[in-house]
Amino acid sequence: MRCDIAVVGSGLAALVATRTLQRAGRDPVLIWPGLSSLYFLYATVDVLGYANVTTAQPVEQPVTGVRQLIADHPDHPYARAGLAALQDGSSLLLEWLREAGFNWQGTLAHNLLLPTATGTPKPSCLVPTSMVAGDLQRDEPIVFCGFDGYQDFIPELAASNLSRAWNGGRRTVTAVRVPLPGIKPDRLFTSIDLARSFEDATFRRDVAGRLRRAVRDDGARLGMPAVLGLTHDTDVHAEFEKESGHPVFEIPTLPPSVLGLRLFDRLRRHIQETGVEMIWAAPAHQAEVANGRCLRIHLKSAGREQPVEARAFILALEDAVDGAWRAGVQTVRDPFFHRVLAHHANPTERTDESLFQPQPFAAIGYPVSDRLQPIDEDGRPLASNVFVAGGAIAGYDPTGIKARGGMAIATGYRAAQEAMAA
């Protein structure tokens, strides 16, 4: 099939790129092999949590932090994408979220500090409104709330950790646990089941009542697992706050991430409703390049490869999770241009001794030019109309600095701009 611009991927980079193209009046097609980590690992858009991987000091102003990072590391994906791409991309995303019926907050000028499911403070920049009340830069005491039989958020664990980590242990953090109406603890129910249950007003009121009775401190805010609704989350959160009589904030839990699910589902629908075609279940590979331009890529559709011709292509696949590259025992290859992206005599070299340190494998990816085109060893673009965004880029490691969402937005936005000019 032929189209204007083909965007491959289903993560935030791909979505931002697609939206950017759409807003500029272009006609993108979104091609995706399956869901990305947006669906199960995302909750917030983190732009820059820490200036580097070793510092314990959270960044206060992400935009300033990114500016500094770009100055210090001119090869970093943020540098390649450019600060403007981050800023414009973030505005675009926030506007899009509003249009799609989300209620998100945040600016690049300020990081909130939100507790995670282990009770660890974590800097985050753009967040759903339902998480805002958790900001540790506020003073009110926090009560973490859990449910009998729900094993994906343990309030006692979070409370114990946060009471030490928050403001030198000077703030009050406690935990409560209540049974759920109609759900006995020794039966299977997942975060999604709970999220659906919370959309029922009776259920919600009942739980709110139980929490109200369990929580003595009138001034406390309640930290709950992110199960406040699935599709009508904005209303559910507002209602629940009213009914429980406390500010309430959600905390992302083990997969499936309700927060990621809400994000992806709504954005996907919105993009389809506004006329962008999505091609499901179509892993992409095999770029056909002639005279320095990519003519088409191929999709592994049912029965037969489907060629997709376009003026430009944006490869916004994520690392190895959804097919940007495949790691063999020693060799890592790219499925589009068939280049060897990395070779390790010993696969152990791809890892650090510790899981909690930066990993060499995060550096694997497509080396890119300043225009985000994939390049060869001599720095020449492999194709003038192909652009790489997101995790597929070499040297893309958002993990230690907590910058996943921001890097995705910046590179997605920039790739879209470049694709339009190609």
Binding site: E156, S160, N161, A175, P347, Q359, T399
Partner: protein, 545 residues
């Protein structure tokens, strides 16, 4: 004055030590087992999992083969809850292998091992994954899968029900002597540092590859040669039965399926110390290549992790190296040999013959104690509970069906979804004082042993530590991190394909969604230390409003 007194102190919590403890208990002899790590954390827990028919040894080590045959039959009777009766095949893939066949057939005959040649077509009908390189196939029904953890725990629990005691994380640092007689053991809790003396009438050194270190505390030499073997775990069983190469025993020539995985093994490299077991990438590669000669799908299978175990080969004084040394065992009567009464060592051997080894050394010690009861471990079944292995195999069937739950039907929750571990499987162990790390919990429940290598269940288990055991958040988080780090150690060696992708999910979850890396940093502990947890003296008040 000793802090405690007992009849016999058994040092070593592997299969041999556990077997000895049980044998003593069945004979009515009071005993305490001390183990410096966790049960089955040494050789036994890192074994290949093969219940040897003896076919592997029947040509070059007839005595060992015969022992395997006899003990295999006994274990199938008394320890059937820990055995998967898979049977095994010996296959030839080359001309050299074919030259070995007649010796193999003769050896089996002599040793009394059932061995039946079947056509390759028939073999492929039974095992569709047999590679196209396979030329000849022998069916050896007495090969099987022996789960080392259930075996050790089963023996220990059986002994405890009869009054025996077990102290894990307890290292022997010295002995109390009464002239030339051992009268007690000085031990140290490896976590708290607390020292205890246990008075006893005899000590059995069942520490396998560590036997030399213990003996040295009495200035006695027991020469054990630690020989490392590396194994690779594939995330699903490619075959039903064990697949052995029909040739002179060598590296990577057995694939052992069991429960939900297949283990490729193994290598044989002499090492200097039983706790220093490096895994070389060449070894990992070799195991996969050799396995692929016998089974299709080995190279495209998902490798889950690699690990290394250590064989305790007893140096009988010969020049023999590594694999060539006998896998027979020896009971060392130190009274006779070294003039030290009340001390015996049991060395060599393999997991398959643990019971016989235990019987022999217990016979010696019982005789010296004047106890005339003989061993009944070959008759008394290990478990009067439900068949563990069977249960696990059929767990998917149970879990797929909703059960009555009040007035409705509901499904049971799972704590570790990869290995189908339910909360009720974990609950009894979470509060067991012998369980000091999540690895200990893993050994007893299989939680964390699946393809995701504890990515998900580690958080849930940490939660259990807090809610059920009262451990504080800091300790629980560190326990969770340590668990992930230990799993990570094995994953690193097979870091490609799906396991690499999995690691991205794991890292994304724990480092990004949870920010555990900064939590550990905040706590100031070195995250690389795989440590232990205890219930702290002052449990931090989590606070219930």
């Amino acid at each position: 004055m000793p802090d405690t007194s007992t009849g016999v102190v058994v040092i070593g919590g592997g299969s041999t030590g556990a077997g000895v403890l049980r044998d003593l208990a069945l004979r009515g002899i009071d005993a305490i087992l001390v183990e410096k790590g966790d049960l089955a954390s040494g050789t036994t827990g890192r074994s290949h999992g093969l219940l040897h028919s003896g076919g592997r040894y029947c040509v070059n080590d007839l005595a060992a083969a015969i022992e395997c045959v006899e003990e295999g039959r006994i274990l199938r009777r008394i320890a059937k809850t820990t055995v998967e009766d898979t049977g095994g095949y010996f296959v030839s893939v080359s001309q050299e292998d074919e030259a070995w066949e007649p010796r193999f057939v003769d050896g089996c005959k002599t040793a009394g091992i059932t061995c039946e040649r079947i056509s390759v077509e028939e073999a492929r009908r039974r095992e569709p994954a047999l590679s196209t390189q396979v030329r000849t196939v022998f069916w050896v029904p007495e090969d099987g899968h022996l789960d080392p953890f259930y075996l050790v725990i089963g023996n220990v629990e059986s002994a405890r029900r009869r009054g025996a005691q077990v102290r894990t994380y307890t290292e022997v640092t010295g002995f109390v002597k009464n002239g030339n007689r051992v009268a007690g053991v000085i031990s140290r809790d490896t976590v708290t540092g607390e020292e205890t003396t246990i008075g006893c009438q005899a000590v059995i050194n069942a520490t396998g590859a560590w036997a030399g270190f213990v003996a040295r505390l009495l200035d006695v030499e027991v020469k054990v040669v630690p020989v490392k073997g590396v194994m690779v775990v594939l995330s699903r069983r490619l075959a039903h039965a064990a697949i052995n190469r029909c040739h002179k025993p060598g590296d990577g020539d057995i694939v052992v399926p069991g429960l939900s995985v297949a283990i490729l093994g193994t290598t044989a490299v002499k090492v200097a110390h039983p706790e220093v077991l490096p895994i070389e990438s060449d070894e990992v590669r070799l195991l996969i290549e050799e396995g692929a000669k016998m089974l299709d799908g080995v190279t495209t299978a998902r490798a889950m992790r690699a690990y290394a175990g250590v064989r305790p080969l007893y140096d009988l004084g010969a020049q023999a190296e590594g694999r060539e040394m006998s896998r027979n065992f020896a009971v060392i009567d130190h009274e006779e040999r070294d003039g030290i009464a009340g001390f015996a060592s049991i060395v060599g051997g393999k997991v398959t013959t643990y019971r016989l080894m235990a019987e022999r050394v217990t016979d010696l010690v019982a005789r010296r104690l004047g106890v005339t009861t003989t061993s009944t471990t070959a008759e008394v079944p290990l478990n009067d509970r439900e068949d563990e292995m069977d249960q696990l195999r059929h767990r998917p069937a149970q879990l797929g069906v909703p059960k009555p739950h009040g007035e409705e039907l509901a499904l049971q929750p799972l704590l570790c979804e990869c290995e189908l571990v339910r909360p009720q499987d974990v609950e009894p162990w979470v509060t067991d004082p012998a369980v000091r790390t999540l690895e200990d919990l893993r050994r007893r429940t299989r939680a964390g042993m699946g393809p995701c290598q504890a990515a998900v269940c580690s958080y849930r288990l940490a939660g259990r530590l807090v809610t059920d055991r009262g451990v504080d958040g800091r300790t629980a988080t560190r326990a969770m991190a340590d668990f992930l780090e230990t799993r990570w150690r094995g994953v690193r060696h097979v870091f490609w394909g799906s396991q690499l992708r999995q690691a991205q999910v794991t890292a994304g979850l724990h480092l990004e969604l949870f920010n555990v890396d900064r939590q550990l940093q905040f706590e100031g502990d070195d995250p690389r230390r795989a440590g232990l947890f205890t219930v702290p003296a002052e449990v931090e008040a989590v606070g219930q409003p």
